[in-house]
């Protein structure tokens, strides 16, 4: 004979329904929490990684330019700066550094022969310029573009988040040169 108790089953079913509802609520809440946390974290990591990648590319290009132009400036007997062109000459060769928009070009010539050509292209909107600091010093100024959305926030912060701003590579120039870009 089949035994059953309608009252007990109804009670049990009510209990189970409540338990299922609590389970679902807990599951949904925890899932939302976990998904929200994961999403935010991944977004932050990816954005930070992109910013850092851009920054280190800038730094890498600056290092390439720095090492080459320092060597040229130390070896040069005569340096002339006119607008965006720096001509560093020795007795045997002439090295011309030309800045134009976001690119800088190094051209090394001996007589009429071009011996070497190097071109470094920075990010778009990067500003490059030669500035004369004194009779015996000049500098190459590199100003990477400010990040659009966070520029104001970054300007106020000093210690925690430091964006890459203008960088100057200071170079010596022979004292007999007359600065032309003051």
């Amino acid at each position: 004979m089949k035994r059953y108790c309608p009252h007990s089953i109804q009670q049990h079913a009510r209990h189970r329904r409540g338990a299922v509802f609590a389970y679902v609520m807990a599951y949904v809440t925890l899932s939302m929490l976990l998904l929200g946390l994961t999403g935010t974290t991944l977004h932050l990591i990816m954005r930070s990684s992109q910013t850092d990648q851009r920054l280190f590319q800038d730094l890498s290009r600056i290092r390439d330019v720095e090492s080459a132009i320092r060597e040229d400036a130390v070896l040069a007997d005569q340096i002339q700066i006119e607008d965006n062109i720096a001509t560093l000459s020795t007795a045997s060769r002439v090295v011309t550094w030309t800045v134009s928009d976001n690119r800088i070009t190094r051209e090394e010539t001996t007589g009429d022969t071009r011996d070497a050509l190097m071109r470094v292209i920075f990010r778009r909107a990067t500003e490059l310029s030669f500035i004369t600091q004194s009779d015996s010093l000049f500098a190459l100024r590199i100003t990477p573009p400010a990040p659009a959305a966070t520029s104001e926030r970054n300007n106020t912060s000093t210690k925690t988040n430091t964006p890459l701003r203008a960088v100057e590579i200071v170079l010596p120039r022979p004292t007999n040169d007359i600065p032309t870009n003051e």
Binding site: S8, T162, R165, P172
Partner: protein, 142 residues
């Protein structure tokens, strides 16, 4: 009578199961909360450590560039220099130190140790980039 006993037994068993289920739900929640709490506690610390390391690398690279600039200026006018404006704009809390070494007997050059320091939080030592250059000091040239 017999039916009643069976019903009573069933009812007791169901209550036990419900209590067990309730308790199990609580344990599940506690375990989930502990796991979430652990992740929430560890993740920001790890990310912050990575972020700080990248900041340090960036500082080191720019400090090396600035040290080269200082040495260039030092060789021109032979006096101690302050940090450039562009560097101070990025790191206002940075400072530069010059330490003159003893001139060697067989040379007119004297070593100068230049360090760029940047304060960190109170629990950490300051970041430091140091470069030694050999320059002809006025007193050694005389």
């Amino acid at each position: 009578m017999k039916n009643h006993r069976i019903n009573h037994q069933n009812s007791t068993a169901e209550e036990g199961t419900t209590q067990l289920r309730r308790g199990f739900l609580l344990i599940e929640l506690i375990v989930a909360m502990i796991l979430l709490g652990t992740v929430a506690a560890v993740l920001p610390v790890t990310l912050n450590a990575v972020y700080k390391q990248r900041q340090q690398e960036r500082f080191e690279r720019l400090a090396q560039l600035e040290l080269s600039n200082i040495i260039t200026r030092l060789r021109i006018d032979n006096s101690d220099h302050q940090l450039s404006d562009w560097f101070l704009e990025m790191y206002p809390d940075a400072s530069v130190e010059f330490v003159s070494g003893q001139q060697a007997a067989d040379t007119t050059l004297a070593p100068t140790i230049i360090s760029i320091l940047r304060e960190q939080t109170e629990s950490q030592p300051p970041l430091q980039q140091t470069l030694t250059t050999w320059i002809q000091r006025p007193e050694s040239a005389e």
